[in-house]
Amino acid sequence: MSSSKATPASRLGDLAWSKSPRTSSELFTLTYGSLVTFLLTLHPPSVVSAKLFSIGESIGSRLIDDYLSKTRQLSSSPPQCSSFGMTAEAVSKTGMKMFLNATATHEALPDADGYEIHIKNNPLTSHLELPPGMPLVYSNVIGGCVQGCLKSAGW
């Protein structure tokens, strides 16, 4: 259940987004589509999913610096991610907003130690139609990116 109350993390995300230099999301979407299409000419879809994840990890390991520098610049007391729950909130409310301008919510997994992050308006899939049954996780780059960020941040 997503809360409509603004939390410090979501306020920071909105502020960081308002100050970010931006570019067209269509250029972003189409460039990503071009990258995925190229990978699909080389590998089967299941392998492409793994490749997209590792590309995301590489992006995430550099994106974390941008995240940390911006959040520290904009807030005198940026939220400290001292628990995994706070980290999940930072990823979904701050990170997704300031980089993708996407609304995301996080929910604790009922029977595992982790969180599910649901992204509402994912720019990567805005004009996407996948063939039915294709075993491709199209937005796996985002998963990889989050993993890369968290790994670099010590999680």
């Binding site: 987004w17 970010s20 230099p21 931006r22 570019t23 067209s24 999301s25 269509e26 250029l27 972003f28 189409l30 460039t31 990503y32 589509g33 071009s34 990258l35 299409t37 190229f38 990978l39 994840f53 590309i55 590489s58 992006i59 550099r62 994106l63 941008d66 300031m98 980089f99 993708l100 301008n101 649901h118 308006n121 720019p123 899939t125 805005s126 004009h127 996407l128 139609e129 996948l130 996780v137 199209y138 937005s139 796996n140 780059v141 985002i142 998963g143 990889g144 989050v146 993993q147």
Partner: protein, 195 residues
């Protein structure tokens, strides 16, 4: 371990959804890092600078082809553009701002040849943070933007070859010139339409 899934989509088919009046935005950091990965992917697979540039150009053509269609529909155009100058003006004044947040600096016709046109841009957006190492010689990462231009023009029915060149501006740095060389049949068709 992180896993991404698409979940169950509740939205209709992408072709049935209305196109928003203005495209959305993402942070420049996200695009720049994604573009850097695209460039590295092609660099690793290419064995020479021309092959590398051709690969980036192909990647750009995918983008350009779709960008034309999106912008055409968004502008509510009912008829195809059939003149060279018309499509180039649509590219530089509508598609360029739609993708790069600014109009192309200028559009010129080539002096020496009827088939040559030039689009100038001081600092094309995708390559703002690109620095080419000396080991790659004259490699121009704006091959991606050349590809976008080529994709737009080819999809509109104007076969051409597009190359990116760096031009020195004297004291104020360099700018990029995209040289568009239309194929002979396109030039002949345009002359016929001129009357």
């Amino acid at each position: 371990m992180l896993q991404a899934g698409t979940g169950r989509s509740t939205s209709s088919h992408p072709l049935d959804r209305p196109l928003s009046r203005r495209p959305g935005e993402v942070s420049l950091a996200a695009f720049t890092l994604l573009f850097s990965e695209l460039v590295q992917l092609h660099q690793v697979r290419s064995s020479s600078v021309p092959e590398f540039e051709a690969a980036l150009c192909d990647a750009g053509r995918q983008v350009g082809s779709r960008a034309l269609q999106v912008h055409w529909i968004r502008e509510g155009k009912k008829t195809r553009e059939t003149r060279i100058l018309g499509i180039l003006q649509f590219l530089s004044s509508t598609i360029w701002p739609g993708l790069f947040n600014k109009k192309a600096d200028s559009l010129e016709r080539g002096v020496s040849s009827k088939s040559e046109y030039m689009i100038h841009d001081a600092n094309p957006l995708p390559t703002v943070f690109c620095e080419v190492p000396r080991s790659l010689g004259g490699m121009n990462p704006n091959a991606f933007v050349s590809g976008i231009i080529q994709g737009v023009l080819e999809t509109a029915g104007f076969g051409c070859d597009v190359t990116a060149h760096r031009a020195d501006e004297g004291g104020s740095g360099t700018r990029t010139v995209f040289l568009v060389n239309f194929h002979d049949d396109v030039v002949e068709r345009d002359e016929m339409l001129e009357g």
